[in-house]
Amino acid sequence: MEYILHILILIGIYTILSVSLNLLVGYTGILSIAHAAFYGVGAYVAALMALKLQTPFLLNLFLAIIASGIFGALVGIPSLRLRDDYFVIATFAFQIITFSILNNLVDFTGGPLGLPGIPQPNIFGFEITTHIEFLILVLILAGITFWISNRIVKSPFGRLLKAIREDEVFVRASGRNVSSAKIKVFVIGASLASIAGVIYATYITYIDPTSFTIMESIFIISIVIIGGSANLKGSIVGAAVLIALPELLRFIGLPNSIAANIRQILYGALLVIFMLWRPQGFLGEYKFNK
């Protein structure tokens, strides 16, 4: 039972990540491969606050969102001026830099040893310790993330984002500030991703830099593409499929060492298959390979 709850919690965390990335990749058409970096910023800010200053969970969550948003602006403002591929490379650079800092600032982040013993959340005196309590917390935060994202994409601002994805020149000619809209959505995406980091850090109670690498970013992108670009429900489906599918490998009796490698192959194969035959993913409206 705990095992199933654990899987559901992970699906919740990855739903937050993929829904927030879908705002960028699916709706606005800006491919960021730095999403794991913002996930990491959230996790490390919350963990360090809790460990060093013993501040309460909700304050840590709030500060993580703000910090990630500020990083989002710092990365987005210069790099969103670049076009398509160059933007991807700029986010790649940020991803690498973030990992290096987390890995090398040993005194502060613990370096490769990570940060053990992160306190579990305590919300107004209510301790969250069991799996079921964490699942409820994840569902609430994932729900809020989904609600905010959904409201944005259904709004006139969401229409503007989709228009930017389809034809920036038209949007410029209609008197809109394209870069400002892109920066706004990038900051929102980064802030929301940090929520997942905060939950992850307090749930596992241990973080190290390897959880926030470029592979993690690519995994989140796979969820978005396979679930469906520009469809938020698709991101939930994608997270559920990509988290649950490798778990099934355990039940066909593969030893763990092989299952881990097969997982990577499975993700890669799925991504290729979807790009070739179903670029809009399970539920998406936007064809990613266009």
């Binding site: 006139p156 601002f157 503007l160 989709k162 008197g175 809109r176 500030n177």
Partner: protein, 248 residues
């Protein structure tokens, strides 16, 4: 209302605009003619801030807009269409028009999260205005179709409606009737000729001389980035320099 002084722009040494100057007054339709590569579309791009000029000055209603970014210029009241027809083809016709309205407070994130009611009110008003515009243009039955499914002529018409939605004082229309059927042509001609009555001015790039002669108050003929001839349509058409340039 629009004053252009000694505008220069070159691309890798080729002068697309060479000391170009002109003035556009209130409520007039100015035709901009000239051979391909004369710099007509470049002029539109420079006025609307899509391309930065090398030298010169553009003044619009008292604002020097030469160095403004395009979204600022367009908010001041200049709209444009493109020669290569730009619309969001994957979106409904109505959404294309809604994207062009100038009231953008309903795209502010704080309003989206905290004041959804005020947004839906603005949105409803805009939708009504958009439908009125479509009715005026006679394609209200297409409101919910994807813009890409319209015929080429209807798409050209829609791009002009988008300019009307922005409620700009000055419209820059780049070949609004090239390649469309006579019926649609007359419809567009009517719409454009009514613009001065609504207090708007137009600069029109077009190769169809018959259309130009019927609609324009004034013509500017340009070649290799400079103004060769300017005046009332009859004068310009019979100017020996213009005839020579076209015959070359």
């Amino acid at each position: 209302m629009l004053k252009i002084e000694n505008l220069n722009k070159s691309f890798d040494g080729v002068k697309a605009l060479n000391d170009f100057s002109c003035v556009v007054h209130e409520n007039e339709i100015v035709g901009l003619i000239g051979p391909n590569g004369a710099g007509k579309s470049t002029l539109f791009n420079v006025i609307t801030g899509f391309i930065e000029s090398d030298r010169g000055k553009i003044e619009f209603n008292g604002n020097v807009i030469t160095k403004y970014p395009s979204h600022k210029i367009i908010k001041l009241g200049i709209s444009r269409t493109f020669q290569d027809l730009r619309l969001i083809k994957q979106m409904p016709v109505l959404d294309n028009i809604l994207l062009c309205f100038n009231h953008q407070q309903n795209e502010q994130i704080q309003n989206i999260i905290f004041r959804p009611k005020s947004i839906s009110k603005v949105e409803q008003d805009n939708k009504q205005k958009a439908l009125d515009l479509l009715r005026y243009a006679g394609i209200e039955d297409k409101a919910n179709d994807l813009a890409g499914t319209l015929s080429y002529g209807q798409q050209k018409l829609l791009s002009i409606i988008c300019c009307l939605a922005a409620d700009s004082k000055l419209l820059l229309l780049d070949e609004p009737i090239a390649g469309i059927n006579p019926e649609m042509r007359d419809k567009i001609l009517t719409i454009i000729s009514e613009l001065p009555l609504k207090g708007k001015s137009v600069i029109l790039i077009e190769h169809d001389m018959d259309f130009i002669m019927r609609i324009c108050n004034r013509l500017i003929f340009m070649d290799t980035g400079t103004k060769v001839s300017e005046g009332i349509p009859e004068e310009v058409r019979n100017d020996p320099k213009v005839i020579e340039a076209y015959l070359e």
